[in-house]
C-alpha cells in the first residue's frame, strides 16, 4: 500500500438513527483490508466515540479514515460550539450531555477517555465557537 487509503463520511447532527454508521463502515473497511482484529477493534471504539461526539455535541461534521502502511489515522471535524475546558472534558465521567441523551445511554463521559486509551496518539484542536478537530493515530506495530 503506497498511496494511503482515505475514506470520508459526513456525520449529521442528532441523527441517532444513523449514528454508528460511520464507525460500522470504517470498521468494515479496515477488516476488508485485512488489518489485525485488535487494530480493527481499537479503531472501531475511536471512530464510534468521535462520531457520537459529533452527533451529540458537535452539530454534525465530517469523519475521515486514513490507512497507511504503518498506521491508521482517524479524523473528526466539526464546526460546533467547541470545547471550553479540554482538560475537564478529558476527565472520566465528565459530560455536558442533556438528560434525554443520557437516558439513551450516551453521555457517560467516557468517550474521550475511551479514545485516549485506544489511540497511540491523540490531538484535539478546539476552542469555544471554533469547532473541534480531533485526530487519533493507531500504529499497527505498537500495542495500546
Amino acid at each position: 500500500m503506497s498511496e494511503p487509503l482515505v475514506l470520508e463520511l459526513e456525520v449529521k447532527p442528532l441523527d441517532f438513527l444513523a449514528a454508528g454508521e460511520t464507525a460500522t463502515q470504517f470498521k468494515e473497511t479496515l477488516k476488508s483490508l485485512g488489518l489485525p482484529p485488535e487494530i480493527c477493534r481499537r479503531a472501531a471504539i475511536v471512530v464510534y466515540e468521535a462520531e457520537m461526539n459529533i452527533v451529540i455535541h458537535g452539530g454534525g461534521g465530517v469523519m475521515r479514515l486514513q490507512v497507511e502502511e504503518d498506521k491508521v489515522t482517524i479524523m473528526a471535524e466539526d464546526e460546533g460550539p467547541g470545547i471550553e475546558d479540554l482538560e475537564l472534558a478529558m476527565q472520566e465521567g465528565y459530560s455536558s450531555a442533556p438528560d434525554f441523551i443520557r437516558e439513551m445511554g450516551f453521555g457517560a463521559g467516557m468517550g474521550l477517555p475511551n479514545i485516549k486509551r485506544n489511540a497511540n496518539e491523540l490531538y484535539i484542536d478546539t476552542a469555544p465557537g471554533k469547532g473541534t478537530k480531533l485526530r487519533a493515530v493507531i500504529y499497527l506495530n505498537k500495542g495500546r
Partner: protein
C-alpha cells in the same frame, strides 16, 4: 452454550434470529453505551434495557452476536431491522437484568 439453548433455557422472546448455533461463553450487562464499548468481550451476550437502534451499532462494533432486552422492553422496529441486517440475535424478557444475569451465570456464562 449455543445461543438457541440459552434462548430456550431462559424462555426468551426471540425477535430476530441471528446465528443461533453460535457458541457464547461470556456476557456483559449495562445501559451506558460507552461502558459497553469499553468492556464488552467479543462474542458476548449483552443484557440491557436500552431499546434503540444504537444498541445494534454497538453490538456490531464489539462483535456481540446476542442481545437480551430486559424488564419487558419490546424492541423498536428500527432495532429489529438493524439486528436483522447485521445478523444479530435480538431477544427480550419480562425479567430484569439482575435475574437474567443470575440465570446466565448458572448456565455457565461467567465472564
Amino acid at each position: 452454550m449455543k445461543v438457541k439453548e440459552i434462548c430456550e433455557k431462559l424462555g426468551l422472546n426471540v425477535h430476530v434470529q441471528g446465528d443461533l448455533d453460535k457458541e457464547v461463553h461470556q456476557g456483559v450487562v449495562g445501559d451506558l453505551l460507552s461502558f459497553i464499548m469499553r468492556t464488552a468481550p467479543e462474542g458476548a451476550v449483552w443484557v440491557t434495557i436500552q431499546n434503540h437502534v444504537n444498541v445494534a451499532a454497538v453490538a456490531v462494533l464489539k462483535d456481540i452476536p446476542f442481545i437480551v432486552l430486559a424488564s419487558g422492553r419490546e424492541p423498536l422496529q428500527e432495532l429489529i431491522d438493524s439486528c436483522r441486517k447485521e445478523n444479530i440475535t435480538l431477544t427480550s424478557s419480562k425479567e430484569d437484568a439482575f435475574n437474567l444475569c443470575g440465570k446466565l451465570y448458572e448456565l455457565g456464562i461467567k465472564d
